[in-house]
């Protein structure tokens, strides 16, 4: 009996851990899930034998409850591990709506320098009210979502007269957006730096933007102590991707630089990406855990009280 109950509790703990500590690769490992299913199988087999030996209705009911709870939790865990999508990080542009298969649509807000409203990605699903995704985990049925702050650059391009020009990102997540998501990496002076690029069609310019943290900016620009703030390095090409002469400049602290015939300004902002982990269904796991606990308590109380009298007086 102790082994039976211990195995059931083991299943529940293994599945609850997947929710409490989401995102571990081991949860998708075949051996982990096969093991989980095997333990559930052992519970079913041993439970059947114990069920036949149980002398009271109460004991039999308790065993049914334990078996059902362990099976529910185990199936939830194995289904998540075997059928759930791999961990992924969704980087969306402000205003973008990113559909996620089997989950819903992630709506990335217009925020940062463009809005006073705090940035918060929301999850929209059919028949559900939109849910805000915060820094802390949010369980959305079979998924756990985390908001992950990351640096992006908000850029402005103007002509020599100060007239604002359209910024486009033909290779970006959104065609029309002045927010660079900085998803690419490049090594400059031994530093691994994020970069992105955008077009200014009205001026026929292609601009590459490399993001520096304050420490990186200070390191690169030795002796210029004023660079103690995040910076964006602009490199301006013509429409044929040829670098123009004297067309590299650093915009620090949101200040504008005139380079390649453009007045460019880069502001480093924090904007959330969303980490998505598949996880066991929270409701099913909770129900399974409660069933196992309730059944275990009933079985243990019977064992402790040695109440093995039959139901017929």
């Amino acid at each position: 009996m102790i082994g039976f109950v211990t195995a059931a509790l083991l299943v529940v703990v293994a599945v609850v851990v997947e929710i409490a500590l989401p995102g571990r690769d081991v949860y998708h490992a075949g051996w982990y899930n096969v093991g989980l299913i095997a333990v559930v199988g052992v519970i079913l087999v041993t439970g059947r034998k114990r069920f036949r030996k149980a002398r009271t209705v109460r004991a039999r009911l308790a065993m049914i409850v334990v078996i059902l709870g362990a099976a529910a939790s185990g199936v939830a865990g194995a289904a998540s591990g075997l059928l759930g999508a791999d961990n992924q990080t969704v980087v969306g542009a402000p205003g973008q709506r990113v559909p996620i298969e089997t989950l819903g649509v992630l709506a990335f807000p217009l925020a940062g320098v463009e809005s006073s409203v705090p940035a918060g990605v929301s999850l929209e699903r059919p028949f559900h009210t939109p849910m805000q995704i915060g820094v802390h985990s949010l369980d959305a049925g079979n998924f756990i979502l985390n908001a992950l702050p990351r640096d992006v650059a908000y850029v402005e391009a103007r002509d020599a007269h100060g007239n604002r020009l359209t910024v486009t990102q033909p290779m970006g997540a959104v065609f029309l957006s002045p927010v660079l998501l900085m998803q690419h990496r490049q090594t400059i002076a031994g530093l691994d730096l994020p970069y992105d690029s955008f077009n200014v069609p009205a001026a026929r310019r292609v601009v590459k933007a490399v993001l520096f943290t304050p420490a990186q900016a200070a390191m690169v620009l030795r002796g210029q102590a004023r660079f103690r703030e995040a910076a964006v390095l602009f490199a301006v090409d013509d429409e044929n991707d040829r670098l123009l002469p004297h067309a590299i400049a650093l915009s620090a602290g949101g200040r504008s630089v005139f380079v390649g015939g453009l007045m460019l300004r880069g502001t480093v902002e924090s904007y959330p990406a969303v980490e998505i982990f598949s996880a066991p269904n929270l409701a099913v796991t909770a129900i399974g855990a409660l069933l196992v606990l309730a059944g275990t308590i009933a079985l243990l109380s019977q064992l402790l009280s040695r109440d093995d009298r039959p139901d017929v007086a």
């Binding site: 542009a93 007239n163 139901d311």
Partner: protein, 318 residues
């Protein structure tokens, strides 16, 4: 209720006992009893006869679902069939070890609960008189409902666990048509003369929003047709709005004047509409109904006929 416990100890009809144990069916009819009495009780009954009897008995059992007049009770490790006094039934002992016990062993096992244990044709039958008898899980009237309930709960849990892995919630198309059916986002913008404007002012009218920029040749080509459309449908509740994406008001106004555009020109410096409509390029045209819901989205320049066709049904709808 006065009940009689009858335990039939059978060591020669394994077919029946297995079936009965698994299905928890009880023998009730006199005809069945007679067949058992006539054939099974004979110790020398051979295997083919026992199989034939098993088939006949199975038919009877299948046709005779468990009636509610009897109950099952466990005493120690022995299972009893409790029945009305005049309703003689046969039951099974589910434990193989007890199939070989003698009448005395039964009497000892069930103690004072059996008033007598009889040997009937080589089968031990324990008979006791008890008042009523506590119902067990299986004999309870709610047993069947409990089983169904457990099955339904299991199915519901399985559905809850597995359904999300196979259902698709992301059928939205990309591009400006992706917001079809949803309320159009409303941003506070300025027009090319600096006055604040908003879509809220256009509720009750069909709105054709055209996103454009001065550096975009297709936008330039499309603009005169939009002005023509605005002229044609001005008195039919249709408004045309040109939303400049990412440029200053000076450039936008100069562009509009060069083409003699008279419909409102809005300045969307941060390209918010372009982003929220999922514009794949410029120009992009989105049509809103009178309630502000997106009904159509077009990527690229439209011909005048396409514009007319898109708004024709909406212009007559009140």
């Amino acid at each position: 209720m006065r009940a009689v416990d009858i335990f039939v100890h059978r060591n020669r009809i394994g077919n029946f006992s297995d079936r009965e144990m698994s299905g928890q069916r009880l023998l009730q009819h006199d005809a069945v009893r007679q067949r058992i009495g006539a054939q099974v009780v004979e110790p020398g009954t051979n295997l083919p006869e026992r199989r034939a009897l098993g088939e006949a008995l199975s038919d009877d059992l299948d046709a005779d679902p468990l009636p509610g007049s009897h109950q099952i009770a466990d005493v120690g490790e022995t299972r009893f069939v409790l029945a009305h006094k005049d309703d003689c039934q046969f039951g099974m002992n589910p434990l193989p070890a007890q199939r070989t016990r003698t009448c005395d062993e039964f009497r000892t096992q069930i103690g004072g609960k059996a008033s007598s244990v009889e040997n009937q044709g080589g089968h031990a039958v324990a008979v006791s008189s008890v008042e009523g008898g506590a119902p067990t899980l299986k004999s309870s009237p709610v047993y069947r409902y409990v089983v169904w309930l457990i099955a339904l709960v299991g199915l519901a849990l399985a559905f809850a666990v597995l359904e999300p892995f196979f259902a698709s919630h992301s059928t939205k198309t990309a591009g400006p048509a992706g917001l079809t059916g949803q309320s159009a986002p409303v941003f506070s913008l300025s027009d090319d003369r600096g006055s604040p404007v908003s879509l809220d002012r256009y509720r009750g009218r069909v709105v054709v929003m055209n996103l454009w920029a001065s550096w975009c040749p297709p936008c330039r080509a499309e603009m005169p047709d939009l002005q023509h459309l605005a002229n044609l449908y001005a008195d039919r509740g249709i408004a045309i709005v040109g939303v400049n994406e990412g440029e200053s008001a000076v450039r936008a106004r100069a562009f509009a004047q060069s083409l003699r555009i008279r419909f409102p020109i809005w300045i969307d410096g941060n390209e918010r509409y372009g982003r929220t409509y999922g514009a794949l390029g410029l120009p992009t045209t989105v049509i809103l109904d009178r309630r502000g819901t997106v009904v159509r989205g077009f990527d690229g320049a439209l011909t005048f006929d396409q514009m007319r066709a898109a708004v024709a049904s909406l212009s007559t709808t009140k």
